[in-house]
């Protein structure tokens, strides 16, 4: 747990730098939207499991924030990828 926290913090920082560089260098293309959303999901999941401590609790409690992340980010992906004119 002790070492995990340092590693989790480092991974979160690295993924944040990656997201920032994509935005700052204007590299966000339609194919990279998926990459960015997956990286956001990983960051969120790391916060939920290791910082909030849900990795240590029963599945029925862990699954709610994970479902939230999955549903919200999937709907965002739908909104970005669905051809304009649909919906």
């Amino acid at each position: 747990m002790k070492k995990n926290v340092e590693i989790v913090w480092l991974v979160l920082i690295i993924l944040s730098i990656f997201a920032f560089l994509l935005g700052y260098l204007k590299l966000v293309s339609s194919s990279l939207v998926t990459v960015l959303l997956i990286s956001t999901f990983i960051k969120g999941q790391l916060v939920v499991e290791y910082f909030m401590g849900l990795k240590e609790v029963k599945f029925k409690y862990r699954i709610i924030p994970t479902l939230w992340l999955s549903v919200v980010l999937s709907l965002v992906a739908v909104a970005y990828y669905l051809p304009l004119g649909k919906l």
Partner: protein, 199 residues
């Protein structure tokens, strides 16, 4: 490893009531996030043009601040969790310093955000400028209020920590404040990617 150590906890960390609050907050922000993404479809060019006025570097610094402050509060909890009766004074002192660092970073986030808001308003943008700025200002100001509340909560937790109010047997109150702070962090992670980066 003994079987007892491998058993999962029955409930999430902290007071159960805070999880009700967290689920409500997730639902509220989730609706805003999805609303933003689908509203963008109605005028993609306007959203992309408006996004260029946002300070990505400030948003990135805010992200680093919140992630690191979340790490600090985990360290505060670990100090208390791993303490024993003999060293509770030292452990509380260490936890108190981690909490002070968390509050400090919370304060830096708030100042950074205020500077960002003042810059946006100085450019003449407001809630009624267009749909992008309506979502941007609503989401970031709503989130700002959460950081402010979280900082106040951590201040009260720190006061109790300084009075040796938490022990390895009873630190649920500290965990309650911490999970709220992590919620604020989690919401910002999604907000940053969605509003500042995705286009």
């Amino acid at each position: 490893m003994s079987k007892a150590l491998t058993l999962k906890r029955s409930y999430p960390p902290g007071d159960f009531a805070i999880w009700i609050v967290i689920y409500i907050e997730l639902l509220t922000f989730g609706l805003f996030f999805v609303g933003y993404a689908f509203s963008r479809r109605l005028n993609v060019q306007m959203f992309n043009d408006s996004q260029l006025f946002l300070n990505k570097t400030a948003g990135f610094i805010d992200t680093l601040i919140l992630i690191t402050s979340s790490y600090f509060i985990v360290k505060a909890i670990l100090s208390i969790k791993n303490s024993n009766e003999n060293d509770i004074r030292i452990s509380s002192s260490i936890a108190s310093k981690w909490l002070l660092a968390t509050m400090g970073f919370g304060g830096v986030f708030l100042v950074n955000k205020l500077l960002e808001f003042s810059d946006i308003f100085a450019h003449g943008f407001s809630l009624s400028t267009n749909t992008f700025f309506m979502f941007y200002l609503l989401l970031t100001m709503f989130h700002f209020m959460h950081v402010l509340l979280g900082t106040i909560i951590i201040y009260t937790i720190r006061q109790k920590t300084k009075r040796l109010g938490y022990t390895s047997a009873d630190y649920s109150g500290m965990e309650t404040g911490a999970v709220y702070w992590h919620l604020v962090d989690l919401l910002w992670i999604v907000l940053f990617a969605l509003i500042y980066i995705l286009r």
